[in-house]
């Protein structure tokens, strides 16, 4: 039980699944972070022909306006990544707080929190985000908040059940007998025992955030057209799919690699925390054989 999340992480990286996932995700993140500095052209410069074929100078050809696809791909990821990370953090923080409080406080607080969660959950995530955006207009911060809020209920549910497990244990009662305030019990005693489910949720929600945010960009809710954005690029260039397919395939592949990478890594992490991929079987067996009575 002790393994801090750091050691779980490193154990996850050492599994083949985790290594592949991390490799894919890091590749995309690297492209998005370094890309803007190494892009050969300005992303909105009309340097080649509309849907121009790939050539020595323009490796992936041109897009629907004659902008360089390579430059736009290199420049088009970082906003998406930042938004996805913020939305995930928001969803985990909000959902986690709601889940822990519902499970620990029980009674009426539990009812109010979880029924609210049910109401939000009744809307499909994308629809919920679209609803907020069409009411308030497509601002980047609003998209981030909308996606974050739409994650919170699902996180709350998972964390609530994980917390119920922890609150049953006697060390929580021991803290109450020390006269600790409920908020402190939740943060100091319970939260450290939830690191693993929280990390798994974070990975999962990050994947969904990327999909939803790029999906919204595809639909036109996101950065306005001259700005490069992988989701938007797919939408802009799909009319020229036969002329220069790379203008659609490459941004789509970046999104795909990123989501597959984060999801695979999360999966590896989850497997390590539940013990499938962690310990050599023999060590667990010896533990079992030496177990004391009544446990």
């Amino acid at each position: 039980m002790r393994q801090q999340w750091g050691s779980v992480l490193s154990a996850a990286v050492r599994t083949p699944r985790g290594a592949i996932g991390l490799g894919l995700a890091s590749f995309v993140v690297l492209v998005a972070v370094i890309g803007p500095f190494v892009a050969p052209h300005a992303s909105d410069a009309l340097v080649t022909l509309d849907f121009g074929k790939p050539s020595g100078q323009y490796l992936l050809g041109g897009d629907y306006l004659g902008e360089d696809v390579v430059s736009r791909v290199l420049d088009g990821g970082w906003v998406l990544l930042i938004m996805a990370a913020c939305a995930t953090a928001l969803g985990i923080a909000g959902g986690g707080a709601a889940g822990v409080s519902a499970a620990y406080l029980r009674g009426r607080s539990d009812g109010i929190i979880m029924r609210t969660v049910d109401v939000i959950l009744a809307f499909p995530q994308l629809v919920f985000a679209l609803l907020l955006l069409s009411l308030l207009g497509p601002k980047l911060w609003l998209i981030t908040i909308a996606v974050g809020v739409s994650h919170a209920p699902q996180v709350a549910r998972v964390i609530r059940s994980a917390t119920l497990d922890v609150t049953e244990r006697d060390f929580v009662k021991a803290a109450e007998l020390q006269g600790m305030r409920p908020a402190r019990v939740m943060v100091r005693e319970i939260l450290p025992n939830l690191v693993s489910p929280l990390m798994v949720e974070a990975g999962l929600r990050l994947t969904y955030s990327i999909v939803i945010i790029s999906g919204l960009a595809f639909l036109g809710f996101g950065q306005a057209p001259p700005a490069p954005n992988w989701g938007l690029m797919i939408s802009e260039n799909r009319t020229g799919l036969t002329l220069n397919p790379w203008a659609v395939i490459v941004p789509a592949a970046m999104i795909a690699l990123l989501t597959i990478g984060t999801n695979t890594f999360t999966d590896a992490f989850a497997r390590v925390t539940i013990g499938v991929d962690r310990r050599p079987e023999e060590a667990a067996l010896i533990d079992d054989l030496s177990q004391e009575p009544g446990t």
Binding site: M1, R2, F171, A174, P280, I286, L289, E292, G294
Partner: protein, 613 residues
Amino acid sequence: MSESAAPPVATTPAQQGVRLKVADLAVRLAGSGHDVVSEISFAVQAGEVLGLVGESGSGKTTVALALLGHARRGLRITSGQVLLDGMDLLALRPDALRAVRGARVSYVPQDPSAALNPTLTVGSQLREALRVHAGAIDNPAGRVLEVMREAYLDPTREMLRRYPHQLSGGQQQRIALAMAFACRPSLIVLDEPTTGLDVSTQRHVLDTVRSMCRSYGVAAVYVSHDLAVVSGLVSDVAVMYAGRIVEIGPTARLFREPVHPYTRGLIGAVPSPERAEVLTGIDGQQPRPGRRGAGCQFAPRCGYAIADCRGEAPEPVVIAGRSVRCLRAWEIQASRPERPAVAAGAPATTETPTLSVRGVCASYGSTRVLSDIGLDVPARACVAVVGESGSGKTTLARCVSGLHGNWTGEIIFQGAPLAHRARQRRKDVLQRVQYIFQNPYTSLNPRKTVGRILDQQLSQFLDLSFRDRAARVAGVLEDVSLGQDFLSRYPDQLSGGERQRVAIARALVAQPELLICDEVTSSLDVSVQAIIVELLRRIQQERKLAMIFITHNLALVRSIAQSAVVLCDGAVAESGPVEQVLERPANPYTIRLMEDVPRLAGLARPGGGAPGA
């Protein structure tokens, strides 16, 4: 319950001779090949029961399963023979082995509620045992009723139609016994079948086992960690330690004059309901598979160990009617162990009690669990609260500590009434009433080091400088016999006994005036239990604490408490000084409880003096 059902029908006289012979059995880890158990040899006569005793991790369950030719995943039976009426079970092919299991060799697991299928009636489960081995029994329908009578169950259709959850724990275990005996096996392996049952139920189940084995001439192997249970049931006993049998011989002699230092240690750790004795535990831990060095495995924990013990593994020697693995068996046999009596606790005082419980009734929802409880805990005295599971003893402790708030009545602590819930109580009250939980595996936060756990308790209650806190934490670790290197350890790096010491240290560091111990030893081995009980008694007397010691184990009461309160169904059945309650119980419930407590039979205990004293 059908405790008074017809006695088992008389059957053919037990066959004579050796039924089961185990020779040089070894089970190893399949991966690394480290031994889990090895050099296991014993024989069981028809109609007799061999007790296999030892603490957790000694390998007794591994041996028990190997007798059925089974090894759990990751283990392999690597050598040896299990001869049942001359047939080697370990040499059988899988399908032949399957035909033998259940018919000629059967197994009774520890927890019947987990072993019985909850979705099938007990009748269909009993019949299934017979159907699988069609031909083993001539008249299956008649046999079902017969075996139920033998297991002291009502042989009625109504009973057969019930589901496992409609039966009590004792009845479930009897169904499991009936299933095991249904095909009239030659060998039956019982793996702690009474652990988790109340003493009275346990006694009835043991009686059933005994009579069924006798009447059929079955050889039985009874695995248990409870020496007292075994001593009343079995004819021979094998003591296991770190995967070897260290001493094996006739039960009465072995318990009366144990030779192996480990056996001596175990017996010294068993509390007696008759006399108040100092319990001597065994410090240290059993070496796990893969960490067993050369020489005698017990040497590091043994008071008799000499340099030679660490060099060579002792071969069994026959001495005083039993076989012992100890280099110094002859010398040790000559010395006799002592069990000093406990010095009387603080005399009853006339000053106001530290804690008074007056007319307390408590409920969970609409279910009442305590009614009109009254008890006093005098200053500097220990009061034991005893009762079977469901008697309400833990609820009482939770009411006093403030963990359970749904009670009426009055609980007065040092002259002032206590608020119902902990969060309504003042800090200094919380500090003075400390609670030690039953299960040290859940009472310590796995994400915090021992140092932080103790420091947090201090900083919640007392306004001290960092340096003062560190000094007190170090001091309290010393008090519970843990070194400074424990400060940086996490709970999962500690054994059960060490964890419970940390939990005790956490309570002590707050400088309490009332200590509530809720079944603090029930999840520990007997040798560790002895250490913890002695530790608590020493601390209670040194620090002049008032203490409530809650337990289901009547025998423990003698060693620690000055007065006792017996709870039955949420009410006080009897209370008074320990000697009076345990020696001259007046209440029929207490009398029955005392009669049913398993005792270490064969242990010479002449009129109050320690043997050899």
